[in-house]
Symmetry: C2
Subunit: 413 residues, 2 copies
C-alpha cells in the first residue's frame, strides 16, 4: 500500500474524548474511528490487524476440529425465554429491537440459545457427536458506560465456539485441547508472556470456568497470580477454600490488574435441557447433549495489544498481527530522484515475494513527520531509503522495538 493512497490520516494529537491509551493511539494512528462511545469503525489499517488475529484464531480452531459458520445478529425471543435469559433483569446489557408486526427480537450478545436450537436439526445420535461450530462476528452489549475504547465495546468482534459432546469424557478431552489452543493463540498474537490461565466462578455446572487474563494496568479485573505455577485466581473466587482446592497459598500470590481476553466454560446441560437438544446413546437411551463455550474478544485483543505493546512514540505491533510487516520511508525531493526510484524497486520486490508493505512515498511531507508517522503506526521493520544511505548502496533498517538502526546493502534487504 502506498501511503498517499491510504484514505486515513494520522492525527497530530491524541483525541481528547478517550481515556484509554489504546483508544488514543488507535484513533491517532488511523486504525479505528469512533462512531459513539463503545462503537468503532475498524479502518483499513485496523482491519489488517483484526484479520491477522482472526486468521490465527481460525487456524487454531480448525486444528482442533472447529467448523466456522456465520450466525445471525437478530434472535428470537422464544429461545431466550426457554432458558430464562430474556428478561432485562437477568441479562442487564441486552439490546432489543422489533419486527414490523411488533414481535420483539434481541441483538446477539452471545449465541448459546440459537446455536443449541439449531443443533437440534443435526444431532440425533451419539454418532453425530462431537460437533464444534464456531463463529467470528460482531456482537452487542448495552454497556451503561463504555470508556475503554475497543477493550470494552458496545459492538465488538469476537470468536465463539460451542462444543457438543456425548459424555463428560468427550467434553473434557475437547476442553483440554481448547485450553491448549487458547495458549497457542495468545502466544502467537504476542501476549503469551503476559496472559495467564485464571480460575473463575463456574456457575451451576462446573466448579470453575477458566479465563485467560492478560496483565494490564488498564484492565478492569483483579487477579491473584502465582508466577511460578503460571496460574491465577480471579478476585471473585479468591477464597481460602478455592486456594486450598487449587493447591495455592496466599504468600505466593501477587495481586494484579488484568483484562479478560478469553474464557472457556463447561455448560453441562444448562442449555440443551430447556431447549431440548438430546441424542440416542449407544444403548438407545435418550440423553441431553453436554455443552461448552469458548470465547475470545478479537477487537478487545486489538486494544490490549496496542495498550501493552506501545511506547511514548506509538504502537509497537508484534509481527504476527502488524498491519504491514515493512514500512518503507522514502526521502526524496522528486519522483525521479534515485532514492524514490530505488524505493519503488524495493517496494515492488517485497510485494512480489508476498510481503505486506506500507510505502511512504509522499514527496511534500517532511522526513521528521514521516518518521513520527512510522513510529505511531508501529510496523515491525522500518526501511529508510535516502540519498545519504544510497551513497554507499545501503538502506537504513530499524526494528520498531529497538532503538538502533543499521545499514543494510540495498540488494540484501
Amino acid at each position: 500500500m502506498k501511503y498517499s493512497k491510504l484514505f486515513t490520516k494520522t492525527l497530530k494529537d491524541a483525541p481528547a474524548d478517550e481515556q484509554a491509551r489504546s483508544a488514543q493511539l488507535l484513533i491517532q494512528a488511523g486504525f479505528i474511528h469512533k462512531e459513539m462511545a463503545g462503537v468503532y469503525t475498524i479502518l483499513p489499517l485496523g482491519l489488517n490487524v483484526l484479520n491477522n488475529i482472526s486468521n490465527i484464531i481460525r487456524e487454531e480452531m480448525d486444528e482442533i476440529g472447529g467448523q466456522e459458520l456465520q450466525s445471525t445478529a437478530l434472535q428470537r425471543k422464544e429461545l431466550w425465554e426457554k432458558t430464562g435469559r430474556w428478561d432485562d433483569e437477568v441479562v442487564d446489557n441486552w439490546f432489543k429491537t422489533e419486527l414490523k408486526n411488533g414481535s420483539e427480537l434481541s441483538l446477539a450478545f452471545t449465541h448459546e440459545e440459537p446455536m443449541t436450537d439449531m443443533m437440534r436439526s443435526f444431532i440425533h445420535s451419539y454418532k453425530d457427536l462431537p460437533a464444534y461450530p464456531y463463529d467470528i462476528r460482531t456482537v452487542f452489549r448495552n454497556e451503561a458506560r463504555a470508556k475503554s475504547g475497543v477493550m470494552r465495546g458496545r459492538e465488538f468482534f469476537w470468536k465463539a465456539l460451542y462444543s457438543f459432546s456425548k459424555d463428560e469424557k468427550q467434553h473434557e478431552e475437547f476442553y483440554t485441547k481448547a485450553t491448549q489452543a487458547y495458549r497457542n493463540i495468545f502466544r502467537r498474537v504476542g501476549l503469551g508472556d503476559s496472559t495467564y490461565l485464571t480460575f473463575a466462578s463456574g456457575g451451576t455446572f462446573a466448579k470453575y470456568s477458566h479465563e485467560f487474563q492478560t496483565l494490564c494496568e488498564a484492565g478492569e479485573d483483579v487477579i491473584y497470580l502465582d508466577k511460578s505455577k503460571e496460574i491465577a485466581v480471579n478476585k471473585e473466587v479468591y477464597t481460602d477454600e478455592v486456594l486450598k482446592d487449587l493447591g495455592l497459598s496466599r504468600g505466593d500470590l501477587v495481586e494484579a490488574k488484568a483484562v479478560e481476553v478469553g474464557n472457556i466454560f463447561s455448560l453441562g446441560d444448562k442449555f440443551s435441557k430447556p431447549i431440548g437438544l438430546a441424542f440416542s446413546d449407544e444403548n438407545g437411551d435418550e440423553k441431553n447433549v453436554l455443552m461448552g463455550c469458548y470465547g475470545i474478544g478479537i477487537s478487545r485483543l486489538v486494544g490490549v495489544i496496542s495498550e501493552l505493546c506501545a511506547d511514548e512514540s506509538g504502537i509497537v505491533w508484534p509481527e504476527s498481527v502488524a498491519p504491514y510487516k515493512y514500512h518503507i520511508v522514502t526521502i526524496a525531493r522528486y519522483e525521479d530522484d534515485e532514492s524514490f526510484q530505488k524505493s519503488e524497486e524495493l517496494y515492488n520486490r517485497l510485494v512480489q515475494r508476498g510481503d505486506e508493505v506500507l510505502w511512504d512515498e509522499r514527496i511534500e511531507t517532511r522526513p521528521g513527520e514521516k518518521f513520527a508517522d512510522a513510529d505511531l503506526i508501529g510496523c515491525p521493520i522500518r526501511i529508510v531509503v535516502s540519498p545519504k544511505t544510497l551513497e554507499q548502496g545501503n538502506v537504513e533498517v530499524k526494528l520498531r522495538k529497538e532503538k538502533e538502526s543499521k545499514l543494510v546493502e540495498f540488494d540484501k534487504v
Copy 2:
C-alpha cells in the same frame, strides 16, 4: 473436509415453510439454517460459497482503488436526522434500538450517513480525493414480509463501496470503472450471461441509477431487455421519454422477471451537503464532495446462483464459488478396503496441491444416498472410487453439470 466430520446433514425433504426454490435447496443441502423468516445462519458449506463470492468482490474492488474497512451496525440518530432519513415514514424498513440511557440508535440498513460523517476526519483538501472506502458486512432491513429466502433477507450480507470525488470528471471516471468491475464480478460468479445493466430511477442527483439485474423467474423486479444491445430498463422508468433518451424502441424489448443483484448510484452532494463534508479545491475555494455508492447483495447472490444453477437433483455450483471443487465418493465396506485406501490417497494428494475437497468417506451409508447427497450439494467435479472402477486402475469422474461420466486413470486425476 471429511463428510462424516461435517456437522451439518442433508435433509430427506425440502423444508415445507419455504417458497423459494433456492431456500429449499440451500436448507436441504445444509448451506443455511433458518432462524426466522428472512434471517438465516450461514452454515460451513454456505460460508465457503459466501467467502468465495466475497473474495471475488474484494479483488475487483481493490483493483479499482477500494479500501476495505469494517463499519458498525449501531448508528447515531443525529446523522440520519441531518439528511431527513431517520423518520420511519421516510425509511419504511428501519430496525431501531436504544442505549441504556434511552438514546435511540438505528441498525444499519446502509452507511451513507456515517461514512460521510467519518470522512470529515480525513478529507480536507482536493489532495485527499478521490477516496473509495468499502465494507463487506451484514445489514438489516425490516421487511414486512420475507418469503424469498436469502434472496431478500431481513439480515443480509452485502458489499457497499462509497466514492468521494472532487468533481464530476473524477466521479464519472470511477463510476465507469466500477461499472466494469461489476460486470467482471457477475461474470466471475457465473451470472455473466444472465445479468444486465439496467437503467433505473436516478433520484435527485442523476438522471438514472444503474442496476445489475439477473434474469430469474423468482425475481421481484420487472425489466425490459434489449438483448442485442445488452441493456435493460427497469419497469419504474419504462416510459417513451426514457426509451427515446436511451435510443431503445419498444419493439426490441422483451419483458422479463429479474433480481437486482447490484446497483450503482451517483449521489452528488445529497449527503455531503447536509452533513458538511467539504474540501478546499485547487483555488482554495470550499466545495462539497461528490459521492457515489455501489452495492452488491452477497447473500442474495448465493440465493440467485442456487436458484438459477440447479436441476431437479440439486444445486450446480459454478466452480468459482463452489463450496468444494471436488466431491470424492468412496464405495467401500471397510476402511481397509482398497477403494477406501485409494480414496484417502487421492484426497490427501488433492488437498496437498491446494484444492478444496469434500470426501464422502462414510462406510455405513448406501451408495445411492451418497450420490444423491453429491448431486444435492452440487460440487463441480464428482470422483467415484469403487472396487469396480479400480479393477482397471481407474476412478469415475463426472462433472455436476453434465450427464455422462468418464473413467480416468487413478494416477492422472
